[in-house]
Symmetry: C3
Subunit: 420 residues, 3 copies
């Protein structure tokens, strides 16, 4: 999948009105399903999932605020952001004064429309720019929310790339946000691209496309007996903005995923944050009962950019280059997770004579020892049964791939064997 | 006790000539006893206490150096600093040359009178300013030290605030210094104010008013079998100078008292020092046989200000504001010690649904998550039986009181229970 | 041995053509043997040593490149650097074009002659300055390498200073480099000076003078069953350049040698590096099978100065002052290794009364507590059976010798005893 194709996917998904349930999510998953085979699960309203209950399903066909001339001054058809998510149906006439408590704006960003939801308190409302609001007169206004909130189901989807091992690497994306491009259509697009690139991996890779919070909770409830298979996990979001990459550590803080991501990011502008129990679905995966090794990879993190949760988070805000950069970092991370293992030096007393095996330059005295030779010396020195290749990369400061190549060369020469 | 009342206590105690034994200490404890009920213990001269022996009791009525005109050029009545502590009696006539080895000055601070003692070597001497010394002619001088050094007793006093638990928080002040206001009349005044404020605490609080070194050693000798009850301890000194607060860690370095004080000081200008075996009576409490969790709280630490152990450490050097600041920090420290405990998340798989319990705002999408909600998420995430509220405050960076309030709200909602 | 004598030794050894075998090493060890009794071991060509085999012995009598006029444009007699180490014999006439692949220069340092070897690939070549090369015309040139490469032996030498304990401190120097003064004639000279200064030490001291890599591997092969006696080890090299001292930690990273050297260097300009498996013979001693506590002491480390492995590393580059500074640091390191031990406080409850034992000034109140008194308080406080004198020096920030003196004074006073 090219960077342009990832961006095209963002643009294609952008107009769909998504929420935590309903046809918007289903339509989104259909489009993803054109690119990746998905297993879709529908979980009925009322199902008890951990401490929660699957809510009613919400669908919406239209919504507007019309001025006396019949003009739609707030129009759902222009952007799904204009209606508060999970708004209950309404049809009537209101003065501006009556409407005001139901109109959400961003006074500090007067030209932008905010994103607001009310999943668990039945109400209705509209989002609009402060500029639009300021231009409204007293009305009266004709108001319509043509929605349904009724028993139905919550939709989650999975794509699995089977590996040699049953142990899984999980990448999770939330799919519940309406017209917001970075949060999280870019994450979805990068996840699709990553999944497409994986061929016959060692670990099994599981990609989860689910509504935030309730989706993750539902998936965890359904898979409670299988989560011990998860060896490494990442939530992926905000994958396309122009900022540099940010990694938030797992609750454990020193899980292998934490170390692998940190190692890969070392060579790029980046930020590493300690775990905190807010953000994306790592909140659920890292709840103390599960305590899974899940970190979170974003570019600029949630609430860290002015476009966050506003109409400015549109396809123009995310770039093919940024999505490609996220993808390449993710790919490198999978290279570390796939390649990391321990070796045992079979000639641990003194250095083995690399020269006679063709692994060392024959001309002595030069001071420009090469990375490849240093990597071999490090692998030999630390392959004592206690250190993995990632440990060696971290301690030596060498790139993981150099260490891995050295280990392979030494294995070919019979100097190390894989630790069993 | 108001800041002004603390300062008035310093002024009232200042003129009394204190030493490690004698009526000055007794008079000081009588005045403290007007404010707090005290249990006073008299330990006879010659009692063996750990490696030491309670010394003879020293009392003094008058001391002077009179010039040939009969003028008191050095006068104990003007300041108790003028006589070397524990000076033996003397009466006679001396030339300046003969007197010189017994006259202590501060050549680098020529207008100030130093503080000197000789508890364990029988001698006598005077302290005076270098300026005064420089103005003296050859004499001869009439010299009097009207003191007694005789069998008697050493006086220590305790005030106990009984708590729910037998485990104790100990605050220890030295009461042996003569006319020195910051070291340690301000400490005494702040300790009295703190004791007055404690009502029905969880821990039992014990305030010790004792001579430095020999007093602490005597108390430890008498209480050797009971020191295991001490859960947290602080020596309190230099509590009223204009500098910022300084905490010196216990010998253990990571005791709960160390973490509680460090947490409270985080939000203020302050210094944290590692333990060293010099300073105040933490030297004794932290000796390796006892190794109690005792830190030391001061403002500017001993020997860290030019007024230290000189006549410039007078009531004008300590301020009501500084004493009040010390008191409030101490109060916050007791709030942490009182409130710290572990909780267990009863809904540890995924986040519990806070919204339906009224613990979470219903309108989603906003980026200004409040401290109270973050505190609840942190308490839920870390209440796994391994972390106390102070652990959670430290890891989250939130104030202890926010974490404690969140825990109480979650307990009320039945989401956590106190760890037993 | 005075600094001037150390420098004279460097000058005397400089002209000898050393390599990993041959008469140059033997002559070098004869000269060292005039200063220190040495046990010399000859290990025959073909002996299997760990993963290696002792190579053929190389000796050389003359080598040159003569121009058509008969002038030696490259002349072994001028410097042993001019011939690639282990060059096989050759005699013939070559054009410049034919010779070029065998002529090694340093284009970035055009006036200097590089150091090159080819121990394990049979070839021949010359080293010369780029300036010399640039001045050569097409030739033809008469070329001679009058060398022999034949069965013989590898030479290693040891000097042992017996101590009270069988446990050893090992100092290892490589003796295989030809005309290079800092690398490693200065190291040899400093080692000789250190050995000369040791009298009846507690540990047994072993000085190893061996060719790099193959020498260390041979010694380790011969002493495999005895290396467990090595308690502390250092490779010593580059001991005379004007840079400050550099210590590279052992593979263990926190061995006592690491802590002792770091403690001694604290008071000097210096650098501490983490272990890496490149450098000098610590590579062999720290291979994972042996994992000995060997660090590496140098001034500017290998490849860290422009003179490294060039003709500019001549006796003018090393100074008596620098060698003396290295020696004194080494001496202090031995003082720590010799003196470090644990004591047990026999009066651990409270401070013992130092004053009545004459260990503490009798005049109280002064703020200039002396280092000696602080050292006594620290030794008493930390002599709990868990801390050695070096631990105490590290934690207190006091010099080791102050801590050691305090411990001796306390032992004399019966307050501490040596831990058994």
């Amino acid at each position: 999948m090219t960077p342009a194709e990832m961006h095209a996917l963002v643009e294609r998904l952008y107009p769909i009105c998504r929420s935590i349930t309903g046809d918007g999510v289903r339509r989104t998953l259909e489009i993803v399903g054109e690119l990746l085979p998905l297993t879709v699960t529908e979980v009925p309203t009322g199902t008890e999932v951990l401490d929660w209950t699957v809510p009613k399903e919400w669908n919406i066909r239209d919504a507007y605020v019309k001025d006396p001339s019949g003009r739609r001054v707030v129009d759902f058809r222009a952007s799904s952001l204009h209606v508060v998510g999970y708004s209950v149906p309404v049809s009537g006439t209101f003065t501006l004064e009556e409407l005001r408590p139901r109109l959400h704006t961003l006074p500090d960003q007067p030209s932008l429309v905010p994103y607001r939801t009310s999943y668990y308190a039945e109400t209705w409302g509209f989002c609009l720019s402060q500029d639009t609001l300021d231009a409204l007169d007293e009305g009266p206004y004709e108001v319509l929310v043509d929605s349904t909130l009724a028993d139905g189901s919550l939709t989650i989807a999975e794509h699995v790339v089977p590996g040699e091992l049953p142990e899984e690497v999980v990448v999770s994306c939330h799919v519940c946000h309406p017209a917001l491009a970075n949060d999280n259509l870019a994450g979805i697009a990068v996840a699709v691209a990553l999944a497409s690139r994986l061929v016959a991996p060692r670990h099994t890779y599981r990609f989860l496309f689910m509504p935030g919070t309730i989706g993750a909770i539902t998936w965890l409830a359904l898979n409670r007996d299988r989560v011990h298979r998860i060896r490494h996990g990442l939530t992926l979001a905000c994958a396309g903005d122009p900022g540099s990459l940010t990694y938030k550590r797992s609750r454990r803080g020193d899980a292998e995923i934490d170390r692998a991501v940190t190692h890969v990011l070392r060579g790029r502008p980046h930020t590493v944050l300690d775990f905190s129990p807010y953000g994306y679905d790592e909140r659920q995966f890292c709840s103390p009962g599960f305590n899974l090794p899940f970190g979170s990879l974003t570019r600029t993190p949630y609430a860290g950019y002015p476009e966050y949760h506003t109409s400015a988070d549109n396809p123009g805000f995310v770039t093919p280059e940024a999505m490609s950069d996220t993808l390449e970092a993710l790919w490198q991370i999978t290279r570390v997770l796939e390649g990391d293992r321990g070796y045992v030096n079979l000639s641990p007393y003194g250095e083995p004579q690399l020269g006679r095996r063709g692994l060392y330059g024959s001309l002595g005295g030069r001071s420009d020892t090469k990375q490849g030779q240093m990597a071999m010396l490090w692998v030999l020195n630390l392959s004592d049964g206690e250190h993995s290749l990632l440990d060696i990369a971290e301690r030596s400061g060498l790139p993981f791939e150099a260490v891995e190549s050295a280990a392979k060369a030494l294995r070919t020469a019979g100097l190390v064997k894989e630790k069993t």
